[in-house]
Symmetry: C2
Subunit: 591 residues, 2 copies
């Protein structure tokens, strides 16, 4: 393929080798793929325009920039002057007139200061320092009469309010920035990634202006080829006369191609073909999105299907099995925007009659925008009026949600916006309310006598006396460690008063609760059974009183009182069996 | 707000009440929200153009349509003639000239037949039969001189090859179709939903042409306001002079507004304001997409972290704990397109040294396109060359994947494309290979003597004799039901030879495996412990030999041989304890 002609209107450009051919694709996650001459330097030319437009938006604000440069495609060629009748406002920032007007808006007191600002901006996008190609710059400067004419025309219409020549000069400089296809790929990916360079993690442009930059690329980036480009390739794009071209698929990836021969419209021939092939091959057309989009509901279950890690008595478990359906948990995921959140809200409202407690779990949510916050606010408001409770969990990484609720709820914020760190704790809180309502007169689970211990069920008073003589009473302060992971397992604990929790370390600072026990329950039994070192840490949640049986006494019981040992082991099996059934039921929820 | 003027150039339109105001938003899932006069009929006018364009693409193919009508925005007003110099091809199908050329491409032998085709097409989009407003049609027909002039001009350039008047007449008819804002909302949502009406579930246009329809709406739909519209509102849109306007956010939703007063460009004043407000409020700008997009990896775990439901011996469990890291499972989710799949593939390749068995689970995948298939093919190809095994599970609902692999793999298809229905079975298959490699000389798990039963561990030969006398040998044919759910639990089973599996019914046709046991293991013990009816069904996987102990003998053992009963209960507790640890470990994976 040897179609197209290397640009010659700037003498410096004519020296390019027409065979140079480089392609680079960079994902919004920062993975780069490159082939060919992707590290061959060339000048950015008109591809600078959208980036400088973004900087102008940051420097002057959208309103002022729009008063100087429009956003309408012209259907005309790149060097058309296309000023709006009457106002003299250039039609859009992608034609030269609009680009010169845009460049004039860059902040800075002196020419060198403004150039430095421009180069720093390009550097943030590319993730490395970029510099001018001086030869091309001189060449542009010497031959840029048409652009100087445009500058004076803009001055005539008061679009430029001072001497146009420094702005035209800065424009020549921005066009002469030396880049590679790899650089442009990263720059395009930065736009795809909401303005943050996905490799360095540094912000190149404020996120709110990215859509404006991409909009002008989308409607005007390919000059009089823009409509056909959108039709066939379907990504905002920009080309330059040195033979570069970039395309951006928002949220996904950036593409850059370098190949100097140009078609009659000034676009790289191979650049267009590569973008066309990639778009077709990889289904990158912006308007060809799968429907109806990802589901924001990762998992949905009730308090009857999955319980908190608080170990319940059989009576309590029965109550939760019966009434736990009043607790509805939505585990959300992905990017929460209007449409994805609307589907969640729609589902909640459709089931509102069943729901008394709603838990919204944000652990797997990547991002959330204001329209999603508004919908969650509406849900909270509606459910509160119906006397339902809404709990938000794992929402610390989404400060926008808290801020939004604070503003909207005002003085009702503390009462209504219940945000808990852990799903497990939220579930436990809701369960407690369900159990209180179902079993208003149940035994106080905070204390138990040996006759009430779950492992001593069906024991005769005489057997209780025998086994009680083997128990040693021990007390612990709140937060005291009762068992350490790695300890030898030589004791079995019966909880007489208070609560204890089992934790495993997640990392050096955080730990995860595996279980919480209350009065009457046995703990520390598993390591005793399989004679393994303690696998987790057990801590007193409150002041705690325990009855402790040594492993020796437990073992000896078989020869001294086999009948008691058998009852004890039967109760132990029953207890393990119940826990196994509970965990199996939990597991089924995740399937 | 009383800005704008009701259109008067067609006398019929002038009768509209300027206060009529209806809004309808329909999600790509088919949920409709409407306010105001959303059921007030009015004529579709130019909003018909993109829909007719879609039908022309279906009738004539993209290439032929493009030879008659371009895709470039003109920056000119709706009634501009804008023919391409030389070819006479109208610049785009959204201006009247392009629309008339498009209408002429609709298939059908007679005028009424073509009108019927058009009305059927509109009806598929709207989900109900639509009809002409005859008064408006007469009115259009009587005053449409300019459009007739355009028709003759198109005939002059051979864009129309026959008498232009029937096509112009059909164009007047398509503009006179009577709709409501609700209808237009559903029609827009149909485009957002890839061409399928989300309420009726019926296809209105082939999915492959939706991007083309949306492209011309995006670049040319709002006439000389298209650029600013894309910049501020950012959705493909189309307006009509009766005061209707639609906007589409692909994959997410459609919006329709009806309010007759128009601005100088012929767009509904309130329509634009509503779209602007909704876009801002709900963050609907097409180019403002969160980055880097949803993760396609729902969950990732190894065969050391989570095992299949086949119950393993302690020795086998140890081997899996040690070597299970060679099995890597990726649970995928959402819409798999290039960028989301690339992230998965990138992760697989980065970990390829650890992976010997790769399981790709598609259960939670909503859609998958060809570029995703291509990437999975690349992974399969690369891993096969490295002598790794790839298994695909739950991929039945994605026939494209199978077809793609069949074409690409050719005669290697049967060997390389391993697709299993269940993740659990895939995991078991991989585990078996890992265990075979780790324990080449392990005991044949297909049969066991009573001395080898897990519950008789540490029994003396004399104790084995005693307990064996209580066992009753029983055999089952392959697939025979051993235990039915709901049965009374009065027996304990020791598996001497063969394999059995525990199933629960998922629905009337399918069942789910909870566990598989092999020689030496106990089953049916849980219901015996908690004296509950059988909770699941147990079936012989092979020919099976069991030793069965009655509940009566089990209970009596405590008084006749307390020492044996204690050992039995200790082994039972140990066995339950191990299963509880395994299930807890599984549960941690899902957290």
């Amino acid at each position: 393929m040897a179609e197209g002609k290397v640009a010659t209107y700037i003498p410096g450009l004519a020296k390019a080798n027409p065979d140079w051919f480089g392609i680079c694709l960079v994902t919004a996650n920062g993975t780069a793929y490159e082939v060919g001459d992707s590290r061959q330097p060339f000048t950015i030319q008109s591809i600078s325009k959208p980036f400088v437009y973004g900087l102008a938006l940051e420097d002057q604000g959208r309103q002022h920039v729009l008063s100087k440069v429009g956003t309408e495609p012209t259907g005309d060629a790149f060097n058309s002057i296309s000023l709006e009748p009457g106002t003299g406002r250039p039609r859009n920032p992608m034609i030269n007139a609009g680009a010169i007007a845009t460049t004039s808006l860059i902040a800075g007191k002196t020419g060198p200061a403004r150039l430095r600002r421009l180069l720093e901006m390009f550097g943030r996008y590319a993730g490395r320092d970029l510099a001018l190609d001086d030869e091309i710059y001189q060449s542009e400067n010497e031959t840029g009469h048409r652009n100087r004419a445009i500058g004076h025309m803009l001055r005539n219409f008061d679009i430029l309010t001072t001497d146009p020549i420094p702005s035209v000069d800065l424009y020549f400089q921005q066009c002469s920035v030396s880049v590679t296809a790899y650089d442009l790929g990263v720059m395009a990916a930065t736009l795809a990634n909401g303005g943050t360079n996905p490799i360095t993690g540094k912000q190149a442009i404020r996120g709110e202006y990215v859509e404006s930059v991409l909009s002008v690329m989308g409607s005007c980036g390919m000059y009089d080829y823009a409509g056909e480009w959108m039709y066939t390739i379907g990504m905002p794009a920009k080309s330059g006369v040195a033979g570069g071209i970039i395309a951006v698929l928002p949220g996904q990836l950036g593409i850059a191609v370098y190949s100097p021969p140009l078609d009659a419209r000034g676009n790289s021939v191979r650049g267009i073909r590569v973008c066309d092939a990639l778009s077709r091959h990889c289904d990158l057309h912006l308007l060809n999105r799968p429907s109806p989009g990802e589901s924001a509901i990762r998992l949905k279950f009730t308090g009857a299907e999955l319980n908190s890690n608080r170990i319940r008595t059989p009576e309590e478990s029965q109550a939760l099995h019966h009434d736990g359906g009043q607790i509805q948990v939505y585990q959300l995921q992905g990017n929460l925007h209007f449409a994805s959140t609307e589907a969640v809200v729609h589902d909640v409202i459709a089931n509102v009659d069943q729901i008394r407690h709603l838990i919204l779990d944000f652990k797997k949510v990547l991002t959330l925008n204001e329209s999603a916050c508004r919908l969650f606010y509406e849900v909270l408001n509606k459910l509160s009026r119906l006397d339902r409770v809404v709990l938000f969990t794992h929402a610390e990484h989404l400060p926008l949600l808290r801020r939004y609720m604070k503003v909207k709820l005002g003085e009702r914020y503390t009462e209504l916006f219940r945000s808990l760190q852990e799903n497990d704790l939220a579930l436990e809180w809701c369960e407690n309310r369900v159990i209180e309502a179902a079993l208003p007169s149940r035994r106080d689970a905070r204390s138990a006598t040996p006759a009430q211990y779950e492992l001593f069920e069906n024991f005769t008073p005489a057997e209780i006396d025998v086994i009680s003589s083997l128990l040693q009473r021990r007390t612990y302060q709140q937060s005291e460690t009762i068992i350490n992971a790695g300890d030898e397992a030589n004791e079995l604990f019966f909880l007489a008063r208070g609560g204890v929790s089992v934790f495993v370390s997640v990392d050096s600072v955080s730990r995860k609760r595996l279980a919480t026990f209350t009065g009457g329950m046995v703990f520390g039994e598993m390591a005793v059974i399989d004679r393994a070192p303690r696998s987790a840490m057990i801590v007193a949640d409150t002041e705690v009183t325990c009855d402790v049986m040594s492993l020796g006494d437990f073992d000896r019981l078989g020869s001294t009182h086999p009948g008691i040992k058998i009852k004890l082991l039967e109760n132990l099996s029953l207890c393990l069996c119940r826990r196994l059934r509970t965990v199996n039921r939990k597991l089924a929820v995740f399937d």
